[in-house]
Subunit: 135 residues, 2 copies
């Protein structure tokens, strides 16, 4: 905290400075919690969409993975991230993380198991020689 409020009755002290910092920390954490709740709800909606995509692809014998689509998604998210002042490398890693999770769910559906019962879809768990030939 760089400045004291105009109405502060006492000059800053280490104790007061720290109390201000803890108050500010609490405010930031409350915002982080709000944003996380929003993100989780959007992710829930996103998974509803990808579950429908998975069912549609299975019913019409379409390939589960679509490298061209994924490349478009990554390029678009990197651009959106740059515009929003977010590290585009993170945006790409985030999308890959979510796609891996979608594949884990699709695999669980295909095997008739609960996704919770499966191990994470680590690249080492299922070898994909070209990194794109997904289940």
């Amino acid at each position: 905290v760089e400045t004291t409020p105009p109405s502060a009755p006492h000059p800053p002290t280490p104790q007061r400075d720290r109390a201000d910092a803890l108050e500010r920390l609490g405010e930031l954490r409350a915002s982080i919690d709000n944003l996380d709740a929003a993100i989780v709800h959007l992710l829930a909606e996103r998974f509803k969409c990808t579950q429908k995509v998975g069912a549609l692809k299975a019913a019409h014998t379409m390939p589960p993975s679509d490298p061209a689509r994924e490349a478009q998604q990554i390029e678009r998210l990197r651009r959106l991230a740059r515009d929003a002042d977010l590290d585009p490398v993170f945006a790409e890693r985030f999308l890959n993380f979510v796609i891996e999770e979608v594949i884990r769910h699709h695999r669980a559906l295909a095997e008739g198991a609960s996704p919770q019962a499966l191990p994470p879809a680590a690249p080492s768990a299922t070898p994909h020689p070209n990194g794109r030939d997904r289940p």
Copy 2:
């Protein structure tokens, strides 16, 4: 697609069925793209908050990691995920992924480097004996 619209002039054919499926796939992908754009913008806002938290903690010599806070965050997100019909295991893995990224950024700030230039904050790259004792 299980049914044809009531006004369909022709009976379903494999070609028409596939065309309907591709149209539905396009609709779902458009929704996924919208949700991803929203999530990326919320993540950008979340990183602004965590960058402020990082600066605040550095200025007031607070420990960078707070296991009690992280445990609360995980429990809360798992609960929110269950209410939103999202796999709570995924919600927890998502939060851990984001926290690792935040730590990667904080470490980059501390070292005066660009986060983009750093390798991912993989658990194996920096051993944490108890999984909580983060940098």
